[in-house]
């Protein structure tokens, strides 16, 4: 945690990170990650479709959209944007695919899954990443009381972070001995939250269950059964006792703290340091048909992202006020502030520094790296959502079809030319971050070697394995 907090809002640190990742990428050696920089698309011209409607889910990481609207960045670009909250990720996805929405605040897995035909098939793209980090895992008070005594404590008497899921093992065993399933909630089958929760559980030796071809429950061979609940309903579902914990974005972990119904145990930043989170997703044909409009909306969102991270987070207070309005996130201001202003409250009286909890602009948060897309695809394969083995090139091709740094660069470069954002905030990269550490289990990830990465996990599908209703089969 300490390491990260000193990192954020620090330009020198950012530059160092670029150099490091560029150096790593350069010695990647894969033919697809050869260090050749991504070239910006050319997107000039008049705005073709100025009246736009974007969808969002009531989560704090939709902030770039709310800010772009409220601070007039959309208007500056000649766009007239309506922002409409959606009930759940499925409704939002259908809205974008069906054309009711021109674009949306999306889970990174959604455009990937839609493009490979997992769930609704549609050609969606992600030309911009909205933020890094921003999620956490919360346990019910009951389960927290059961594990609290066993946790190693620091000098101040508070639990040492990060808290491993292995402490949950005796609780799960006790549930099992009583014949009860141990249920946890996440927000969507292809959500970051699903993969993060699974990663955390598996890193602690608990099996979160596999998906099989045709089964979307994902509870085959599971120690912990995960189910889908829309983010805003998480606290209510936890309170009702349907689930014992959940992984969700803010403000729904802090809501559990304020309502005293649960305790956040770990942030996703602690599971995977600076993990890529939501993306801005739209239909591929929209971007082809309206290139100048696409560039204009990306420029507006990038400006908003810069505003959110400007001056060490000086604008966050105002952002919190805007997000607390009923037509955006709508939760109470103090609940939103509890994670948006550089701190994160775990239990009452245990508020810790968490400056990296929501990063919107720094550390190239907006750039849609191919390697980020590939990480999501590896997790889909790890848990059986991708039923069969795929070769490395399939991962590269899919990532390149969905993640579109060329569109991002077209927008970002024009902002650099206009002097709106500094040149060093736009990375010169081949789209691969290089070998990344910072995972809770110590496994490193190299986006240019997806199959080698999958082989590193002790829990998860291996080369040649498939899942049927009976369980995992194959070598």
């Amino acid at each position: 945690m300490k390491k990260l907090s000193s990192f954020k809002f620090d330009r020198r640190g950012v530059v160092a990170a670029v150099l490091a990742s560029a150096a790593l990428a350069a010695c990647g050696g894969s033919p697809e990650a050869s260090g050749e920089s991504v070239v910006a698309a050319s997107l000039d011209g008049e705005i073709e479709k100025p009246n736009l409607k974007f969808g969002f889910i009531k989560l704090t990481d939709m902030a770039p959209l709310a800010i772009a609207k409220e601070k007039g960045y959309f208007a500056e670009e000649g766009l007239n944007v309506t922002l409409e909250p959606q009930a759940n990720w499925k409704v939002l996805l259908d809205g974008v695919i069906g054309g009711q929405l021109d674009g949306a605040h999306m889970l990174a897995g959604q455009p990937l899954a839609a493009t490979i035909g997992y769930g609704t098939k549609a050609d969606l793209i992600a030309p911009l990443s909205l933020d890094l980090n921003g999620n956490a895992i919360t346990l019910s008070n009951k389960v927290w009381d059961m594990i609290k005594a066993d946790l190693p404590k620091g000098e101040d008497g508070k639990p040492v972070h990060p808290i491993s899921a292995e402490h949950l093992k005796p609780v799960v065993a006790e549930f099992e001995s009583q014949g009860k399933p141990f249920n946890m909630g996440m927000v969507f089958p292809v959500s970051t939250h699903n993969y993060e929760l699974r990663y955390w559980l598996a890193a602690g030796g608990l099996k979160p269950g596999y998906y099989s071809d045709g089964d979307v429950q994902g509870v085959i061979d599971a120690d912990v059964k995960l189910s889908v609940t829309p983010p805003p309903q998480m606290p209510a579902t936890l309170e009702a006792g349907t689930i014992e914990g959940y992984c969700v974005g803010e403000p729904w972990n802090q809501a559990a703290v304020f309502k005293e119904i649960g305790v956040p145990v770990i942030t996703d930043d602690q599971i995977w340091n600076d993990n890529p989170e939501k993306v801005f997703g739209l239909r591929e044909d929209f971007a082809e048909k309206y290139p100048a409009t696409t560039a204009a909306m990306l420029r507006a969102i990038i400006k908003a992202q810069q505003w959110l991270d400007a001056d060490g987070g000086a604008n966050r207070k105002e952002a919190v006020e805007i997000l607390s309005r009923p037509n955006y996130v709508g939760a109470d201001e103090e609940v939103i502030a509890a994670s948006m202003t550089g701190v994160f409250t775990f239990e009452p009286g245990d508020t810790r520094e968490a400056e990296g909890f929501n990063i919107f602009f720094d550390k190239f948060a907006g750039y849609p790296y191919y390697s980020d897309a590939i990480w999501y695809l590896t997790q889909m394969r790890r848990w059986g959502q991708i039923a069969d083995d795929k070769d490395d090139n399939w991962y590269f091709d899919t990532a390149k079809a969905v993640y579109r740094p060329d569109l991002y660069l077209a927008a970002a470069n024009s902002l650099v030319e206009d002097g709106v954002i500094p040149a060093e905030s736009v990375p010169d990269t081949d789209g691969f971050r290089g070998e990344q550490a910072g995972f809770i289990d110590g496994v490193t990830y190299d986006g240019s070697k997806p199959n080698a990465y999958l082989a590193k996990f002790s829990i998860g599908l291996k080369q040649g394995q498939t899942v049927t209703a009976a369980g995992v089969s194959g070598t």
Binding site: E46, P50, N80, P85, A87, D94, G99, Q100, G330, A331
Partner: protein, 354 residues
């Protein structure tokens, strides 16, 4: 059953209307006022007047006050994760703040158009007509906007339902064969919940409306069609019952006069079954309004249902009070719609030519 309640002093045509009513119609037409009136008829005129005032004003007021009192007393006892259940005062305040938001939104809208106009003037003055913008204000919909959206949706769904149900009902009433043919279908379709129709309607409409800028927003059409599918049946059934129970003598007279098919329909069948049709329409509108709120909640189509769901998702300390205010408004609108239809219904009964 309804006949028992009809006061002998009531106008003759009203009594006929009550007599004519179908089983569903009877339940709707039944009103407690004639009962009171018939009892009161034996008392002195002064007593009668007093009783009438009591029934019309005093007791309803007592009922409402008792309800608000109980609400204020019991609400603070219910502890939810969003705080205690709001009482009447908090809900009233929520209503006031919603109005405040509406005024603020109107101001922002005015400012937006003023700014746009100023920008356009400046652009024209600078010799840049390409810079002229003609945008609609894209602010979030206010509570009042949501009410109007809901009313428009229910109106479209209701009109569509009536257009479909009345001709089919007339045919079913006139032809026993046709009636027998559609009866099982109607019986099966009638109890289907709007929530079951919604995914089907959504997928079909999404597939059918493919234009990038459709005449009516997809969400609006989807809600209206779901309303139509659920509110079709009371009108259809009542029309069929009304048509089939026309006095056989009347039809025989028609035969004697050698009335053509069209004349028979417009001169005999329609006038005779009109009270039934209106009773059915009144029931349909009530069903439609209930269905609409559910459809809007589930499909996130704009309107009051979406307002309620969005507030539930907000989960702020104000949310419950705002939801309760919306519930009261939904009830009031439903009541007004019903009264409106009742007025139309009694007009239709009075203006009968047969």
């Amino acid at each position: 059953m309804a006949t028992a309640y009809v006061d002998p002093d009531q106008p003759a045509d009203a009594a006929v209307a009550a007599n004519d009513s179908s089983p569903t119609g009877k339940a709707m037409l039944k009103d407690t006022a004639p009962v009171e009136a018939s009892i009161a008829a034996e008392a002195s005129p002064a007593m009668l007047k007093l009783k009438a005032i009591g029934t019309a004003i005093l007791w309803p007021v007592v009922g409402i006050i008792a309800f608000i009192g109980l609400w204020a007393l019991l609400a603070p006892q219910v502890d939810t994760s969003l705080g205690t259940l709001p009482g009447p005062v908090e809900v009233g305040e929520a209503g006031i703040s919603l109005y405040g938001e509406y005024s603020a939104a109107k101001e922002a809208e005015g400012a937006f158009y003023a700014q746009q106009e100023a920008n356009n003037q400046a652009a024209i003055a600078a010799g840049n007509p390409g810079g002229v913008r003609d945008f609609e204000y894209a602010g979030p919909p206010t509570f009042l906007d949501q009410i109007f959206t809901s009313l428009q949706t229910v109106a479209l769904g209701f009109v569509l339902a009536t257009i479909f149900a009345v001709p089919i009902g007339l045919m079913a009433g006139l032809s026993t064969r046709f009636n027998a043919a559609i009866n099982p279908l109607v019986q099966i379709m009638k109890p289907v919940s709007p929530l079951a129709w919604l995914p089907i309607v959504t997928m079909v409409i999404s597939a059918m409306i493919t234009s990038a800028d459709p005449l009516l927003p997809k969400a609006f059409v989807i809600s209206a069609l779901v309303v139509m599918l659920c509110s079709l049946w009371p009108t259809l059934i009542n029309t069929a019952v009304g048509t089939s129970s026309i006095d056989k003598d009347l039809l025989n007279v028609g035969k004697v006069l050698r009335l053509g098919w069209f004349d028979k329909l417009t001169k005999l069948v329609l006038p005779a079954s009109l009270p039934y049709i209106f009773t059915g329409m009144r029931l349909s509108l009530g069903v439609g309004w209930m269905v609409l709120i559910a459809a809007e909640m589930l499909a996130q189509n704009p309107g009051l249902g979406k307002f309620v769901w969005d507030e539930f998702q907000n989960g702020s300390s104000q949310s419950l009070a705002r939801i309760m205010f919306a519930v009261i408004v939904i009830g009031l609108i439903g009541f007004l719609l019903d009264r409106g239809m009742m007025t139309l219904q009694s007009l239709a009964s009075k203006n009968r030519t047969v």
